[in-house]
Amino acid sequence: MPYLLKKEEFTRFIDLLIPFYNVTAPVKNIKRNISEFKVLNTNEGNKLVFDLPLYPAKDVFLPRKEKLFGFDNGNIIDVKHDNKQTLLFMNRCDINAVHRNDLIMLDDPVDLNYKEKRDKAVLIEIPCRITERCVCTDMGLIDYYDIKIVEIDNESSSNDKINGKRSNKGNYILDIRTKKGEEVIEKVKNRLSLEKATYTKPKLNLFKPKQVKTDNKEVWEKYGKECLSCSACTIVCPTCMCFTIDDHLNLNLKSGYRHREWASCQLLNFTKVAGGNAFRKDRGARGTQRIHCKFIYFREKYKHPRCVGCGRCSAACPVGINIFEYFRSLK
């Protein structure tokens, strides 16, 4: 059921949630003049901004380096992760990125480390502030939020009628889609003056699939010449979830842990095999893999493109490679 949240109460709404959850939200970093995802401390609700930080919040679910298990003297010790419930305030594209990651990580066999964190996370969609890098309109984004915060910016919206003469401009509608979302609202409902409201979901844009030939030689040669193979694009991508499993041995040479760490398909050693051979030696070939993975392979498997159109990769690329332009130029 949708609720009406007054703009004066918005900060209080966040502040009330902080004691119950790890509230992760975009926050302005004044020193660096960027916004970034941060865990809010008590009474920091006013710090939340509606923005799309350059670095995604994917490390909430897949940390840069995550222990899989420990060992000591040849014995395996299972690591117990003690996770608090997380509230994630994210843009629509980032929430869709979680959906894409769910498709792969919760596919059989289930990645338990991921599932543990995912089960404890509530996704809250914040109003979009469209930046120049956004390209999400044709990416076929779906509704995957638990709670959606909708800004009322239109005087003639249907919500005004319910509340009579009072103007609702600047107020918010909280649309609850799941049980998880209801539980969150239940916790703070009594301490806020929430009112019932109506909310009509906007129509969804569908992704228009495109058939692509595998040999677009000139395109990939061009990519190979442009790309520096720095892997910035995959670091900032909210759906790039590839990782490498490795061991860490303590200095006593007896104990340590096995961990997984982010990996990037744009690096040469990603496809390295025994004997030093690598399957994708050429940068163009690695670009092919990335763009095909985002737009073609994933859709064939899971019916959605793996790209959510946040445009972070183009913003992070030091030579300005834009994967949408490349995808468009494919025959």
Binding site: F69, D111, M241, D247, L249, I296
Partner: protein, 271 residues
């Protein structure tokens, strides 16, 4: 739904170590699982890491892994001896379609011929196929085995050669000639060119990419159907369950959807 953590390995005792060549040894591990020829496990040493290795035997009691000493992990494994422990998780992958082939031979009476081609260390997964065929000999028709090795020092499973020669049409070649042994010299394609195949021949291959490049035209010229050729792919899988992305090949995960692919599906795979 499985609730076990797929990343958690089991501690497994080494039952025996057989030295095959200078840098290749076969480790017999006390890991009684139901495996299929062509599948693989992630085997490793705690503190060093893990790597994917194919089975080289077919048995419910234990597993054999034929491991070449080429990197960090395999080097650490080679330092282990009988009675020591390795960590193993698996099995992963689909394996060769042995049941499908034998089913076609027995119930549909298609009189399948079976050709097994192994190049270098690629002979190791083939050995599990041979074991399977040996244990279910009546379910298969004529079986030819063609192995190719670099030189005399690199020949694998020499002990089995006598037995295989009796049971099957077994031949092998060496890339370099040797005076220690009377055998064919040259690439595996030589053996294929000499051989005669029936129409319904099934071909199972495991070998380096360069070998595939030369073998496929020969097989096609001999009239073997693309959908009857099964190839095992090599990748360095990290997770083994289709999550980590290292082995993604044309949208397929070699660890999950493979490592064995049918040639007509796999021929357009591009890296």
């Amino acid at each position: 739904m499985k609730t076990t953590n797929p990343y958690l390995p089991k501690k497994v005792k080494i039952l025996s170590v057989t030295k095959d060549t200078n840098d290749i040894s076969t480790f017999r591990l006390n890991y009684p699982i139901q495996n299929k020829p062509g599948q693989f496990v992630e085997v490793g040493v705690l503190g060093i890491g893990e790597c994917p290795i194919s089975f080289c035997s077919y048995s419910k009691k234990h597993i054999d892994l034929c491991i070449r000493n080429v990197g960090n992990v395999t080097n650490a494994i080679h330092k282990k001896s009988k009675g020591e422990y390795l960590v193993v998780r698996g099995p992963f992958g689909n394996g060769y379609p042995m049941e499908q082939i034998s089913e076609e031979h027995v119930s549909r009476n298609l009189k399948n011929e079976l050709i097994l081609i192994g190049g270098g260390t690629g002979a190791a997964p083939m050995r599990s196929v041979i074991d399977y065929v040996e244990q279910n000999r009546k379910k298969f028709g004529k079986v030819s085995i063609f192995f190719g090795f670099r030189n005399y020092e690199n020949i694998l499973f020499k002990k089995d050669f006598k037995r295989w020669s009796k049971l099957f049409n077994f031949q092998f070649t060496l890339d370099c000639s040797t005076n220690k042994l009377k055998c064919n010299t040259g690439a595996v394609t030589l053996l294929l060119e000499k051989a005669k195949f029936s129409e319904n021949t099934k071909v199972l291959i495991c070998g380096p990419p360069i070998m595939l490049k030369f073998i496929m035209p020969v097989l096609m010229a001999k009239g073997i159907k693309e959908q009857n050729v099964f190839i095992s792919f090599e990748r360095l899988m990290s997770c083994g369950i289709g999550k980590c992305g290292h082995c993604e090949l044309n949208g397929k995960y070699v660890c999950k959807h493979g490592p064995v692919f049918r040639y007509d599906e796999a021929k357009n795979f591009a890296d």
